[in-house]
Symmetry: C2
Subunit: 187 residues, 2 copies
């Protein structure tokens, strides 16, 4: 046979993901990706097909990246307190290196809301659906909440999470902390 790839696909997907995360899909050009991933356009296309394929792969990579956080959330036994902790965990990456902003899934959801790309929208919808089911599960741990309250609070928290991810792109850590605390004050 012939020479081997001089890069690891997982490594370069991680770098692509970070760039998409920071700038969004449209605002990230192949030229920027080339530079950030450290490999040539040809290599990107032979590994991922096209920009769209690379983005989908980045989304998958993101999901595995946050799966630990999600599992921790899923396994929690403290009801509402687990949800609150999940909110904190979700935006913790904002204040680490790399300048990632908000939640990649939510950002993508927003960017593609007017778009017709069903493949990506399906990915988002399933992710949001899973999240809602988990939130409901945690809320139901409090036996004093009736079903109607659970649904209302779940919708509230889902929108709050959505809003948080958007706001996290432009607000300070202190503002975000105040926001989360206030959100959970009366649940």
């Amino acid at each position: 046979m012939a020479r081997k790839k001089q890069y690891n696909e997982d490594d370069v997907v991680e770098k692509a993901m970070n760039l998409f995360w920071k700038n969004g899909y449209e605002a990230t050009s192949m030229q920027m990706l080339e530079k950030e991933m450290g490999i040539n356009k040809f290599s990107i296309y032979s590994s991922f097909g096209n920009k769209h394929g690379l983005f989908l792969e980045s989304l998958k990579h993101y999901k595995t990246k946050v799966s630990a956080t999600l599992l921790k959330f899923k396994n929690g036994t403290n009801g509402v307190e687990d949800i609150k902790q999940f909110f904190y965990d979700s935006i913790s990456s904002n204040f680490k290196v790399g300048n990632q902003k908000g939640c990649l899934v939510t950002n993508t959801y927003n960017e593609f809301s007017e778009n017709e790309d069903q493949l990506i929208k399906d990915e988002m919808t399933s992710f949001m659906g899973n999240l809602k089911a988990l939130i409901i599960e945690k809320l139901q741990m409090d036996a004093s909440k009736d079903e109607d309250t659970v649904i209302k609070q779940a919708n509230y928290l889902l929108l709050a999470k959505h809003g948080l991810a958007a706001a996290a792109r432009v607000n300070t850590a202190q503002e975000i902390e105040d926001y989360i605390e206030m959100t959970f004050k009366n649940l």
Copy 2:
């Protein structure tokens, strides 16, 4: 002299604004604007300089459009209840004709958050600053709130407003109503 313009600048700016509102700045092309505004590229450029100029003019137009809502908010005497009503007023355009989504100012703030366009960012910052001042003013109407609580609640509401505008792009009227009600439940 020579012939007069066959269009009214205010009319075509309104149409441009609606398109920007729906799609955002980058996703709105001159070709789309040409079609929506009903005039030629040449006319757009002679009236507004360039795409950026047209967008700034659309933002100004948006501000005058929402000035009535803002004035109503400013003149309110019911404290927190005024803020809540303002939230409802802010997203009411979502459920009218035209498919506008969320709040143009907030959408712009989000789209340009990673951008270097200081002119637009300044416009956004001043708008947000005014809003925060008004919210604080209304919160202070309740004499029982100490200064620290007022600041915390103002930050909370500002982020909630931000999140609401983002979420309003993708959620139903019922979900949004639930969200607003829950947001104000304990202020």
